[in-house]
Amino acid sequence: MTGVVFVTSLLLALGAYGALTRRNAVAVVISLEIMMNAANLNLVAFSRLHTPELMTGQVFALLAIAVGACEAAVGLALILAVYRRYGTTDLDRINLLRG
């Protein structure tokens, strides 16, 4: 079981690294989804530890997948909107807040 936590923390670290270093917005969304999946894997794994018959972990994994899909849909929609406005998906060049 420690193995699961080992793997998921590694995946989480990878996702965090990607989310912070990638410049392309789509790649950032990929990194975020990797982190989300790592958390999800933990949910499913820990569901086996305590009360497998209640399925709580799996129910929440399902809901997290639903949330992740919505996040991707909205996030990518925003990226496309930004692309249409500024003609780039490079996050370093999008400096909305700097005016």
């Binding site: 079981m1 420690t2 699961v4 936590v5 793997v7 923390s9 590694l10 989480l12 670290a13 990878l14 965090a16 690294y17 990607g18 912070l20 270093t21 990638r22 410049r23 392309n24 789509v26 969304v29 990929i30 990194s31 989804e33 990797i34 999946n37 894997l41 499913v44 794994a45 569901s47 530890l49 305590h50 497998p52 018959e53 209640l54 399925m55 709580t56 972990g57 799996q58 129910v59 929440f60 994994a61 399902l62 809901l63 997948i65 639903a66 949330v67 919505c70 991707a72 849909a73 909205v74 990518l76 925003l78 990226i79 496309l80 909107a81 692309y83 249409r84 780039t88 490079d90 370093d92």
Partner: protein
């Protein structure tokens, strides 16, 4: 040294595939290949779910992520910059970020190593039925809230993508 159980071998097989896919996805300069590696990662995670007796979640993962979100990403990429490959910005801060990310991961690993975890229980029989009953019983509010969330996602994303059209 005894022969490891098939479940363990499979676990580490999928784990290696997931980590490899994720590593390639976050570092590759080639965005389409990055998305493909992300697909491999998702499939490997689905394999892990299946192994952990969550076959339903595994197939949802394939159906929603590989068949849905991945296609969405491909579309988003092709609608914006289909041919471009952008290197990850290996600027000044990149090593620092890497160290921080690895540090956080290592901290969780060390914490996990020192936490006594209970023994894994056998998967419940008839778990598919339990899953459905839980969604309609204890967790029905969350279930309906996901319905609201999905509706909100359609509205938000459509507004964002269509912009102000007079």
């Amino acid at each position: 040294m005894s022969i490891p159980a098939p479940a363990d071998i499979l676990f580490w097989f999928f784990a290696a595939a997931a980590v490899g896919g994720a590593a390639y996805a976050v570092t590759s300069a080639h965005l389409i290949r990055s998305i493909l590696a992300f697909g491999a990662f998702l499939t490997a995670v689905a394999g892990e779910y299946y192994l952990l007796a969550a076959e339903f979640v595994a197939l949802v993962q394939i159906f929603v992520y590989v068949g849905g979100v991945l296609v969405l990403m491909l579309f988003a990429l092709m609608l914006s910059t289909p041919g471009e490959s952008q290197p990850s910005s290996l600027g000044r801060w990149s090593p620092a970020v890497g160290v921080t990310a690895v540090g956080v991961g290592a901290a969780i690993m060390i914490a996990a190593w020192h936490t006594p975890l209970p023994v894994v229980k056998e998967p419940a029989a008839g778990r598919l039925d339990h899953l459905g009953q839980a969604l309609l019983g204890d967790h029905v509010v969350v279930f309906e809230l996901v319905g609201v969330l999905l509706f909100a996602a359609v509205v938000t994303a459509l507004v964002a993508v269509r912009g102000e059209r007079r």
